[in-house]
């Protein structure tokens, strides 16, 4: 009941990768080439204005913060999964109260982290 059929998954991955590659080759073969002398065609799209992209602008650090906070909260959510799956069994075997309390402490820490992060305006996108 708990097995993951790796053979099937790997077969599907390999097939889709080959299928996608074949599609791209097919598109390249059928598409042909036009107007190779135009260098504007191969430039990136900037709403029609050629070549005004400056290279030195910095990108906001909020992406980094979002990703790090996502990792942390994702790990906390992952820790809730074994609890969720065995909660009813714990209650049935009499250990319901300590498990509920310990998970309550964990969720309280989670909530505090979330509240602190919102209060400190770490993810304010302006």
């Amino acid at each position: 009941m708990s097995e993951i059929p790796l053979g099937g998954i790997l077969f599907l991955v390999v097939f889709i990768a080959l299928f996608g590659t074949a599609l791209i080759f097919l598109a390249r073969a059928i598409g042909g080439q036009r107007d190779n002398n135009s260098s504007v065609k191969r430039d990136i799209y900037e709403c029609g204005i050629p070549g005004q992209e400056k290279k030195e602008s910095k990108i906001s650090v909020k992406f980094y913060l979002t990703a790090i906070l996502f990792i942390l909260f994702d790990i906390e959510i992952i820790f809730m999964y074994p609890w969720a799956i065995s909660f009813k069994d714990f209650i049935a075997s009499g250990l319901g109260t300590p498990v509920l309390i310990s998970m309550g402490i964990f969720i309280a820490i989670f909530v505090y982290g979330l509240w602190w992060e919102v209060k400190s305006k770490a993810l304010e996108w302006d």
């Binding site: 009941m1 708990s2 097995e3 993951i4 790796l6 053979g7 998954i9 790997l10 290279k55 910095k58 990108i59 906001s60 650090v61 909020k62 992406f63 980094y64 913060l65 990703a67 790090i68 906070l69 996502f70 990792i71 942390l72 994702d74 790990i75 906390e76 992952i78 820790f79 999964y81 074994p82 609890w83 799956i85 065995s86 069994d89 714990f90 250990l95 300590p98 498990v99 310990s102 998970m103 402490i105 964990f106 820490i109 989670f110 505090y112 982290g113 602190w116 992060e117 400190s120 305006k121 770490a122 304010e124 302006d126």
Partner: protein, 175 residues
């Protein structure tokens, strides 16, 4: 060769191949993407070991969160200097050889040491119980303190990350 053996060797090849691509590629973004590949390979190897929940968690957390962070952060930078410095450089070549030798030593030592470990005796017993439920049971009975300490650790990491991003005037950019 049985199907299980073939699967294991294929996955081992994929994982080690991905790992070696990580250190051999010049562009750091290719290295990060090769590391994603390696993580997926490790997740598949967890499946062959019977740790299904851990395999899923490896995909969700490692390949789906941590590596996304790595790739996103690498894209925030201009990496031309890193690529050049990695390609030339004799010091980097020396470091490559040194770390390769170190890794070979560790792996050899691990293989030699693991032949002394006993074979898993409770595998037959664990196969009856759902592994995910068994994990939940152990987590909440034996390792409850580590579980709570992990929550506190994650909170500390959150505070540290925000403080780090702010220390150079980070989160409100340049106006």
């Amino acid at each position: 060769m049985t199907a299980d053996a073939f699967l294991f060797w294929f996955l081992a090849l994929v994982t080690i191949g991905g790992g070696s691509l990580v250190i051999l590629m010049r562009n750091p973004i290719y290295s990060a993407l090769a590391l994603v590949f390696t993580m997926c390979g490790v997740s598949a190897l967890f499946v062959t070991l019977g740790a299904y929940f851990v395999a899923g968690v490896q995909l969700i957390v490692y390949a789906g969160a941590v590596m996304v962070l790595f790739v996103m952060v690498l894209m925030l930078f201009d990496l031309k200097h890193e690529i050049e410095a990695f390609a030339k450089g004799q010091i980097s070549g020396a470091i490559k050889i040194l770390s390769g030798g170190l890794l070979a030593g560790i792996v050899g030592g691990a293989i030699l040491a693991s032949t002394k470990l006993s074979s898993p005796t409770d595998a037959a017993g664990a196969a009856v119980v759902d592994p995910s439920k068994a994990l939940g049971y152990k987590l909440f009975t034996q390792h409850i303190f580590a579980f709570e300490a992990l929550g506190v650790l994650l909170l500390v990491i959150a505070v540290g990350a925000v403080a780090l991003a702010r220390s150079k005037g980070g989160t409100h950019g340049q106006r």
